[in-house]
């Protein structure tokens, strides 16, 4: 008995690790499948509307692999990556932070105004701007967390509503009587002087565009996220709460505190979304500051399965589609065809992941039973297998 136990444990851990590799393979396969499906649908739409899908793709790849465009794609992906990580922090805990959009925009305008007006020594100034952005993002997301734990308000509804309120608040703040300044026709915040900017780096030879210096911030956030999730007690609690709040509570996790902290963290990362652009290129907040990145972030987090590495690929793909679609105009194809591609990718990816999950779970149940020599009744068909997957609340 005493000798059998360790042997069984090691066999189990071996099983778990091969299972992990196998699941990763399935996840990648599902993502590829979703991409192929989206490509098929897009081609079909192009064909129906009288355009050639092959030549369109050819144009896009030609254009998207030019040095300048590659730099632009990396820059765009940096922004998307931060938004997706902000969403993923919530998702890992089963919290839908649909409010990243409002959080990053509100953070951007206040951080830009701070950077434009408060004179700090170089170095400190950049840090100050970033800290302000994180605080504002946290605050806006924190409202959601507090409403959820004290009043039971669903975060889905409150984040949607707060997105609108943020839009109103920004329209109010940008007025010349508040934080805005009129420069000619443009209503912007006071520009951040060069002592508060972060210079670009010439990463791609021959490119007219420099890569944001804060691309390293995004990388840092990704590494930090992975470390937090997989190597700390907080991350364990977070994932446990995401899998089953009641089980986590039973094992001593303060679920309410976790919800608020997760929202604060998610909001802090959301606050960073516009920072590479603000400190590296725009230097002010204006009405042309991009909006809607929060929603793109949701899509990218889903495609990347809330995994920091998966999200890298997903945000590069998104940035490639968005940037290289510009070339389609010369062949008279509306660039919004890529929005259709992106929408189909998300929808088919979540369906594919769901199917793969069911399949992997069923297979695992059988395999574990077989390897450990336990007598498990064979799950009778697909329906019974699905029952198992629902026994663990997602």
């Amino acid at each position: 008995m005493t000798t059998a136990a360790p042997a069984r444990t090691s066999r189990l851990s071996h099983l778990v690790s091969t299972e992990r590799v196998y699941r990763l393979g399935l996840a990648v396969a599902a993502a590829v499948l979703a991409l192929v499906f989206a490509a098929l649908i897009t081609s079909l739409i192009l064909l129906i509307t009288g355009h050639g899908p092959i030549s369109a793709l050819h144009h896009m790849i030609d254009y998207g692999t030019q040095a300048t465009q590659i730099s632009a794609i990396i820059n765009q992906a940096t922004t998307y990556y931060l938004a997706a990580i902000a969403v993923a922090i919530g998702f890992r805990m089963n919290l839908f932070n649909i409010g990243v959009d409002g959080q990053y925009q509100l953070a951007a305008i206040l951080a830009a105004a701070f950077g434009g007006t408060v004179a700090l020594p170089p170095g400190l100034r950049q840090i100050g701007i970033i800290v302000v952005a994180m605080l504002v993002g946290s605050f806006w997301a924190g409202i959601v967390g507090v409403l959820k734990v004290t009043r039971g308000v669903s975060e889905v509804i409150s984040t949607i509503m707060l997105n609108f309120v943020a839009t109103g608040a920004i329209a109010f703040l940008i007025k010349p009587s508040n934080l805005g300044h009129l420069y000619g026709e443009n209503l912007t915040t006071k520009p951040i002087p060069s002592s508060g900017q972060v210079g670009g780096i010439s990463l791609i030879p021959g490119s007219d565009v420099k890569v944001y210096g804060l691309v390293f911030l995004a990388i840092g956030v990704g590494v930090g996220f992975q470390f937090l999730i997989s190597r700390t007690r907080f991350g364990f609690d977070l994932r446990a709460t995401g899998r089953s709040a009641s089980a986590a509570r039973a094992s001593g996790v303060n679920v309410k505190k976790m919800i608020v902290v997760a929202m604060l963290l998610s909001g802090a990362v959301a606050g960073l979304v516009n920072m590479p652009e603000l400190l590296g290129n725009a230097h002010n907040y204006s009405l042309s500051t991009p909006s809607g990145i929060g929603f793109t972030g949701i899509a990218i987090a889903l495609l990347g399965r809330n995994n920091p590495v998966g999200i890298v690929f997903a945000s590069l793909l998104w940035a490639f589609l968005d940037t290289s679609s510009n070339i389609l105009q010369i062949s008279n194809i509306p660039t919004s065809i890529v929005s259709i591609t992106e929408g189909v990718v998300v929808l088919s990816a979540v369906v594919a992941f769901e199917l793969v999950n069911r399949y992997a779970l069923r297979r695992q149940q059988r395999k574990v039973g077989r390897e450990l020599g336990l007598t498990t009744p064979d799950p009778g068909g697909p329906e019974a297998g699905g029952t198992g997957s629902e026994a663990v609340p997602a």
Partner: protein
């Protein structure tokens, strides 16, 4: 007649009676609330000297602003009563606007505009049904995906079909459709002129009522009538038919419903598809109102519809109240000055004070104190300022919703299994 028969008869009579009493109570509560609201608005109009508050123009605009919200909310109600959250309302509404304009433009008939809206919404509804009921994908995720997909589809198709030479010649473009034929308001041949006179007198309550009636009849068209009729139809289907009972049972406890032989998948899919169709109709209504499709036309109204549904506690009657309120604030800030919108603060103060007194009468002292203090604060705000920032007035529906959720979430009751994924045989 045996004793058993007699008692069974008595029981069923009692049940019918109780059912009637419950309905009557709900109806009289609604009427009372409406009357109180009317008096409060009238007092506000006189005290603030802002006749625009109840002018026919504003109220007519309120109806036109409220109906699409109401239709979207009805869509949300259908899906959520069957246990499926439909965040995709916004996207389905966008599809509705595009297809309504396309069909209206191609055919030249306003009826085809409605058909187009139905088709656009149907596409979105079927997508959501396949993903959530068919594949059991998380409902929020599917909704978000639809909201990403739909604007892309609308933009792409508009970029092709509204930029043909013929469409360009009649005012089309990549972001806007050519002018389409719409339903016009009914012509009353001057029969409504006495209402204008009555409104012009600015009498307490009477003039406000006249303004309301004037607004209703002068903005009525066939589409508005159809839209408004959908509310009692929904209520009747949900509350008075076996179909509705079964549909609601899917939203409350699908596993139990299944054991009783209810076809849960079929009903959920039906509800989600109807939900999409209603959202599409909401989009068509917008096109009918402005006469064109243009990009970004829905402007978050799908979400406001969702908010109105929550405000109305997942009931058609409450939903109408919510969309009326949101439509009214929307119309007020579009049609009048910020000084008029500012008068709403007084209205809020009055309503809060009444709610506080009501709470005291019900011996809910803590709530009463909170409401009265809030009323006093809002009153001070009203008295010390001349206008409120228009930016916040625009988003008052969202702020009100957050407020209602934060204060009254205990009194709201959503369907018990709302938003939960469910698969056949799950309870076994």
């Amino acid at each position: 007649m045996t004793v058993r028969d007699a008692s069974a008869q008595a029981v069923s009579a009692l049940r019918a009676d109780r059912r009637l009493t419950a309905t009557n109570a709900a109806v009289s509560r609604m009427i009372l609330l409406t009357l109180v609201g009317l008096v409060a608005i009238s007092v506000t109009r006189i005290a603030s000297d802002k006749p625009a508050l109840t002018s026919g123009g504003v109220l007519g605009a309120a109806i036109n602003a409220g109906v699409p919200i109401m239709l979207a909310g009805l869509g949300g109600l259908w899906a959520e009563r069957a246990g499926v959250v439909n965040i995709g309302l916004e996207g389905q509404m966008i599809l509705g606007t595009y297809f309504a304009a396309y069909f209206g433009y191609k055919s030249g008939s306003p009826w085809m505009l409605i058909v187009g809206g139905l088709i656009g919404g149907l596409i979105g509804g079927v997508l959501h049904a396949i993903a959530t009921v068919g594949f059991n994908v998380d409902q929020i995720i599917s909704g978000v995906a639809i909201n990403l997909l739909a604007p892309g589809i609308a933009k792409y198709l508009a970029g092709i079909y509204f930029t043909t030479d013929k469409a360009l010649a009649s005012g089309g473009g990549p972001t806007q459709s050519p002018k389409v034929d719409v339903f016009n308001a009914f012509d009353w041949h001057g029969a409504d002129r006495w209402l204008d006179k009555l409104t012009a007198h600015h009498w307490f309550v009477v003039s406000d009522l006249a303004g309301g009636v004037d607004a209703i009849i002068s903005s009525l068209n066939a589409f508005t009538l159809i839209a408004l009729a959908l509310v009692p139809i929904t209520w009747f289907l949900m509350r008075r038919t076996a179909f509705g009972l079964r549909l609601r049972s899917c939203g409350e406890n699908p596993t139990e419903a299944e054991t009783l032989g209810v076809k849960v998948y079929t009903l959920k899919s039906t509800a989600v598809i109807v939900s999409g169709v209603l959202a599409g109709l909401a989009g068509a209504f917008l096109v009918n109102y402005t006469g064109v499709y243009h990009e970004g036309q829905t402007n978050g109204r799908g979400y406001i519809g969702l908010a109105a549904m929550i405000f109305g506690n997942w009931n058609p009657g409450g939903l109408v109240l919510g969309s009326g309120l949101f439509g009214y604030t929307d119309a007020l800030q579009q049609q009048t000055t910020t000084a008029t919108v500012h008068a709403l603060l007084l209205l809020v103060a009055i309503m809060l004070a009444l709610a506080g007194l009501w709470a005291f009468a019900q011996r809910r002292v803590a709530q009463g104190v909170v409401a009265l203090v809030a009323a006093a604060l809002v009153l001070v705000w009203y008295l010390t300022t001349d206008s409120i920032p228009a930016e916040f007035a625009t988003y008052s529906p969202q702020i009100i919703t957050l407020f209602v959720l934060a204060v009254a979430s205990q009194r709201l009751r959503m369907p018990a299994a709302d938003g939960l994924p469910w698969r056949r045989g799950q309870g076994a």
